[in-house]
Assembly symmetry: C2
Homo-oligomer: 333 residues x 2
DNA sequence: GGTTTTTCTGCACACGTTTGCAGAAATTCA
DNA sequence: TGAATTTCTGCAAACGTGTGCAGAAAAACC
């Protein structure tokens, strides 16, 4: 038995329109009756119905968020940033988890469309790059985080992968390494491509040769680190490895230890992201810091601006990564 | 310019009711016209409006989820389980992050109430224990994860903290330890209290004395691990420590290393939760495994059952934790 | 062909809000 | 006291959908 605006109207002895106006703080209704109505609403335990409101106002105050996996610490931190800004501005967060599963991906988009969210933030690179046109049809502002956008109707906040990868590789070069491997990310991702490109660029600028044999494929997760092992069955073996991300690096670190290979004495390691656990690894992980929380916030602010006026030109944001030097890449002397 | 059911009706030359029925697969409408309507709907790019539907059906197919912090790997894993079952059953997930901030907590509850979610899952122990009556007013089924419930109208899925803590402590005793410390969790939490109780129980049953000086306060996060240091300024110093959770244990591990104290040679360490990173610590962390993903799933299934029939008696679920033995508590010989 | 049955479709109301517009009540002014 | 103004309130339509009920169209039967 839900209490509606009409029930409040009845006990307060006014029409339901007056109640609506009173609770909205509309100056058309007198101070005295407003107080009275508020008292009655309180007593009845009235809660406005967001569905009905959204239906007539054509705004839901809801923000759709599509992510690959919430268990990924990178993603979780981004969502935290999104929620912060969204919450501060009176927006709800509707979460869609895609799991890199095509069926889930289209379903997530469909659900957000049906619930008429006011904007969508996508932190799932696959969805971003595969469903561009599909997303456009939603007809609300869309902000992508760390994924390429095929059209001009999408907006994005992204870290400069190429620069970050270059910084990481240059750091290893500066430490005296000449044979540097790269554990790359999952195929088909923009980030995988660009981080590889940054790695190559650093090599080129340092006049070091590029050896495709030194590139191994990971999956962006800890398990992918196991791949690192194959590095040692070839010559020359790398003395340093730049990993696609921290998860990969942590996996690699683990596998190396099991083989009795010491980090950083035998091989140096650099990750990407700076997730919370990077600092607590043993040895602590050198990495390229992405301001994940900040990126979530920026994306949401962008979405808010676009919702106010979709026509306003909002430039894409590219954030440089920052090298965080820790023990995994500094050989003790 | 949104396309509604009426627009489809117009081009298909039928009434909007027929369209509604056709798209719902209602057998009242003939196969032939259904196909025709579906074709037109498709062509116009029609997407049903969940708001309008929810308004009339009094069901939103949305599930409210309140969590403390999404950046906590424990919580993230629970949410993953929730989303899995919710998604499989056609439910959306609306996320509310409370951050242990009273203002946010009441706001999260208010938002979910306004959006008329069909059920609420609370994975934020503070909200669970503080806002019992407040939650009840929402008038939908509520399932708490790992938090005590003050009334009978709430349901819960929880791990057996006391048993888990006992298992952990007994394991340390079995390893020959006689002076065992405990790094407890944040004050006021049910889990903190029960894990401490389990620890004491194990000591009692082994006829070991309980020394309050061996209890130190953490905050449930990595930073709290720094507290462990104070242990060594007293005698007798513990040779093993049971930590409130893995995050705390990781912090402790880090602090110990910085002081040159070796794990497990000098001191053994046991955590609680078995978050993904526990296995990748150095040394890998012995811990009590909570099936977080599974717990999220169970809670959601429970919510689904309650939504079908709130009167049906659904017993609370208590899951035993499982001891996962790793290197952090096994002294090498 | 008329009657009964079956199959399908449309009307109209409901869900809980917001909001333009008209008009009632209260106030001010002459 | 009556007219003009100001302040407030209610009516009614709209948002997009679902659904009971009546009735039209088609099919089946005699």
């Amino acid at each position: 038995m839900r209490v509606s605006i009409k029930d409040v109207a009845k006990v307060a002895g006014v029409s339901h329109s007056t109640v609506s106006r009173a609770l909205a703080g509309n100056p058309l209704v007198s101070e005295r009756t407003r107080r009275r109505i508020e008292r009655h609403a309180q007593k009845l335990g009235y809660t406005p119905n967001a569905l009905a409101r959204g239906l007539v106002t054509q705004r839901t105050c809801a923000l759709g968020v599509i992510v690959t996996s919430i268990a990924d610490p990178f993603v979780a931190e981004v969502v935290r940033g999104i929620d912060q800004v969204a919450g501060d501005n009176g927006y709800r967060v509707v979460l869609g988890i895609s799991r890199n599963d095509p069926a889930r991906e289209v379903n997530a988009v469909k659900e957000l469309r049906e619930s008429r969210v006011d904007a969508v933030i996508v932190a799932s690179s696959r969805v971003g790059s595969l469903y561009g046109p599909h997303l456009q049809e939603i007809g609300v502002p869309i902000v992508l985080i760390n994924s390429q956008h095929p059209g001009t109707f999408l907006h994005s906040v992204a870290v400069d992968d190429m620069l970050g990868a270059k910084l990481a590789t240059q750091h290893l070069i500066a430490q005296g390494h000449r044979v540097i491997g790269h554990l790359r990310g999952p195929a088909g991702y923009r980030a995988t491509k660009n981080r590889l490109a940054g790695y190559r660029k650093a090599l080129r600028e340092a006049a070091l040769p590029f050896d495709p044999g030194l590139i191994q494929a990971g999956d962006g997760r800890v398990e992918g680190g196991a791949q690192a092992i194959t590095f040692w069955e070839q010559t020359p073996a790398p003395t340093a490895i730049f990993c696609y991300n921290d998860m990969t690096a942590i996996g690699a670190l683990h596998a190396l230890k099991q083989r009795g290979i010491r980090v950083p004495q035998d091989v140096s390691l650099v990750g990407f992201d700076d997730i919370a656990f990077a600092a607590y690894c043993d040895p602590p992980l050198t990495t390229i810091r992405q301001p994940m929380f900040e990126m979530g916030k920026r994306a949401t602010q962008m979405a808010l601006t676009l919702m106010r006026d979709p026509a306003i030109p909002v430039p894409d944001v590219i954030i440089p990564g920052e090298l965080i030097t820790r023990a995994s890449s500094i050989a003790p002397r």
